[in-house]
């Protein structure tokens, strides 16, 4: 009977097929369910979902349609099912409130999953307590914008990522606010994508996590109070500009972790009060410019063969340690930065200090060898040690130095 009605409706609007039809769904409408409306819809239709609660389990979108919520209708997975699964191209999902996907140890359920699709747009949705928030696999040329994805993750093992991209290309992730997941934004094998102006906070592991992804940009994001900050690993040509890394403070925390990264540019970022501002392992040919390091434990900690890096025109303000290196060999350049702990002079008034600044302190070297010595941090003896070492360097690498330390703090407009 229903089929007949559907066919009748289809015939009725047959003449207008070129234009998008709008199918309205509400609890008291003739279409009371989203699945029902989807079955009736054809390519290009808009399914307008009115305010209400819809508990329909897993809804699969196989047609290129637009799902538009009005007054944030609630799609509840009742802790048992993935809510939206999109397998068609050019699908738009907007204004929905998706809830309660429920954790699973067997499958990666998501609030919204896009599988092998192109040209999608997922915008201005609210996702609450979805195991994985938005999960993209083998998809391309889409946008995830303006979503609020709030989770209640407690344990790394039993939580998912807010935005999870796997084998994707040309994706835009913009203006999202993610909170309380395992990773805020996770990218694995994702190329040519842009992560812009997102806020990622209070996640258990990383605010943003890059793995094996090349030619990506992330600009103007804020990463705040995450378990360990941002991790960028095994990736090439990543541009990291104008981000804020703040308050990632804890035993194993850092603002930004770089592991096996080549040819990236890190500029105009602010690192504020992280245990380690940037933790670098085995990364070559990186450029650090115009960053601001404010009150971090370590501003930059390099280990395991970092070569040909250029650190220039940065502000290092009141960090406990400005720099830590664990190898004596160094061919990185640290010229032309402002260091708040520099106390040299500038006789010829060219704006740069006449005495080179050595960012690696003796105490730093001692702490690298015996971490327990950290108990003596800020004691008079350690200050004396550092002073005598500065006057005549014996242990610290003499070639790790800023030969043109700036006398005045660089002014950045942030």
């Amino acid at each position: 009977m229903r089929n007949i009605i559907t066919i009748a409706v289809l015939c009725l609007f047959g003449g207008l097929k070129a234009e998008a039809r709008t199918i309205t769904v509400c609890p008291s409408c003739s279409f009371s369910g989203i699945k029902q409306a989807l079955a009736a819809a054809v390519e290009g239709d808009v399914i307008l979902i009115k305010k209400g609660e819809y508990q329909e389990g897993n809804i699969i979108v196989e047609k290129p349609v637009t799902l538009r919520g009005e007054g944030f209708p609630v799609l509840d997975g009742q802790n048992e099912a993935e809510v939206l699964t999109i397998t068609a191209n050019n699908v738009v999902v907007e204004g929905l409130d998706i809830r309660n996907v429920g954790a699973s140890y067997l499958e990666d359920r998501a609030g919204i999953r896009v599988r092998k699709a192109k040209g999608f747009s997922i915008r201005n949705n609210r996702l609450n307590n979805t195991f994985f928030g938005i999960y993209l696999e083998h998809s391309a040329s889409g946008a995830i914008t303006g979503n609020k994805i709030f989770g209640e993750a407690v344990q790394e093992m039993s939580s998912g990522n807010a935005i999870h991209l796997w084998y994707c290309k040309d994706i835009l992730v913009e203006n999202n606010h993610v909170r309380g997941h395992r990773d805020g934004i996770y990218l694995e094998f994702v190329d040519n994508s842009k992560i812009r102006s997102n806020i990622s906070e209070y996640n258990l592991r990383y605010g943003l996590h890059f793995m094996f992804s090349n030619n990506d940009d992330y600009f103007r994001n804020t990463f705040r109070r995450n378990g360990a900050g941002v991790a960028v690993m095994f990736s090439r040509q990543i541009n990291m500009w104008e981000n804020k890394f703040e308050y990632n403070w804890g035993q194993a925390s850092y603002g930004l972790l770089l592991k096996e990264i080549y040819d990236a540019e890190i500029r105009d970022n602010t690192f504020r009060e992280n245990t380690i501002g940037i933790y670098v392992e085995g990364s070559n040919r990186l450029q650090y410019r115009r960053n601001e390091f404010i009150r971090n434990g370590w501003a930059i900690k390099m280990s395991g063969g970092c070569l040909d890096n250029i650190v220039t025109a940065n502000n290092f303000l009141n960090n406990t340690f400005d720099l830590s290196l664990n190898s004596a060999a160094n061919n990185n350049t640290f010229d032309g930065n402002y260091w708040s702990s520099y106390n040299g002079y500038d006789l010829n008034r060219d704006g740069t200090g006449d005495v080179p600044y050595q960012p690696v302190k003796l105490f730093n070297y001692i702490v690298n060898r015996t971490p327990e010595a950290m108990v003596l941090l800020r004691s008079l003896f350690v200050d004396l040690l550092n002073f005598s070492e500065r006057v005549s360097p014996v242990f610290t690498p003499a070639n790790v130095a800023d030969n043109r330390p700036l006398m005045r703090q660089l002014a950045f407009k942030r």
């Binding site: 403070w249 804890g250 035993q251 925390s253 245990t275 009150r295 434990g297 370590w298 009141n318 406990t320 001692i366 060898r369 015996t370 971490p371 327990e372 010595a373 950290m374 108990v375 003596l376 941090l377 800020r378 004691s379 008079l380 003896f381 350690v382 200050d383 004396l384």
Partner: protein, 260 residues
């Protein structure tokens, strides 16, 4: 005892040095607050100064005060007053006046700056508590040394040596031990060793309050687990009290047996 305490206290508060001491802390704190915006940074800078200067001044002041008021002490000894009463009265008067100088000098600028509305208030309180403890500890040690030595030069020398030992040499030996035995797990040792030096213990207590424990990696975690809890706090305050009681007990012993 209270009468002697009162007498010593007012005698000291009228002295020029007490004013200089107070004024120094006041000006120093004001200029720090003036120059740097953040309170937490000021607390750290002040910590460095308080940990070095308060013990030094307390030591010097203690020795000096004892030697200077010797005639008055002899006068008192001729009266029918218990010896412990006399010396504890003098000691407490000294320690109290030093503490009040510190509290006024450091506290007043912070109060004017509006510490009570800021989240730093507990770190600041910790700083003051530690400062008061250090005043009491080191003036007791100084009194003890002065009582033991009639020779002024020897007394001064010993007092300075004791200060130097706790402020610098102890940390050097500590660091040496840490690097010599770096193959062994040293966290317990690190906690134990800092308990035996009131200056180190004070420093660690403040640093933990300032959340630097995260910097300290595993060691920090162990220390935080021990000292960061209410129990650890109680233990360390007890240890600091023991550091006051020990030299005070020494004063009592020497005072009772000494032949004036």
């Amino acid at each position: 005892m209270f009468k002697i305490l009162k007498y010593s206290f007012f005698d000291l508060t009228r002295s020029r040095w007490a004013y200089i001491y107070t004024a120094f802390f006041f000006l120093f704190t004001v200029s720090l607050l003036w120059l740097s915006g953040g309170m937490s940074k000021v607390v750290i800078s002040l910590m460095n100064v308080i940990l070095v200067l308060v013990p030094l001044i307390a030591t010097m002041f203690g020795v000096m005060y004892y030697y200077n008021s010797r005639e008055f002490t002899e006068l008192l000894l001729a009266q029918p007053i218990r010896r412990t009463t006399i010396f504890f009265g003098q000691y407490l008067g000294l320690a109290l006046s030093l503490s009040i100088s510190l509290l006024l000098g450091v506290g007043l600028p912070f109060v004017l700056y509006g510490i009570f509305g800021s989240p730093e208030v507990w770190n600041f309180m910790m700083l003051l508590i530690v400062g008061v403890f250090l005043s009491f500890i080191f003036s007791a040690i100084a009194f003890f040394i002065a009582l033991r030595n009639e020779n002024h030069i020897k007394g001064f020398g010993l007092a300075i040596l004791v200060w130097l030992f706790f402020a610098v040499i102890y940390d050097g030996l500590f660091l040496l031990a840490l690097s010599l035995f770096s193959d062994y797990p040293l966290e317990q040792f690190a906690i134990g060793a800092s308990m035996f030096n009131p200056i180190d213990l004070s420093r660690v207590l403040i640093l933990l309050k300032l959340d630097i424990s995260a910097l300290m990696g595993f060691t920090g975690a162990v220390i935080q687990k021990f000292l960061g809890t209410a129990l650890g706090m109680a233990v360390s305050l007890t240890v600091l009290s023991v550091w006051v009681i020990l030299p005070a007990w020494g004063i009592r012993r020497v005072a009772n047996h000494k032949d004036f």
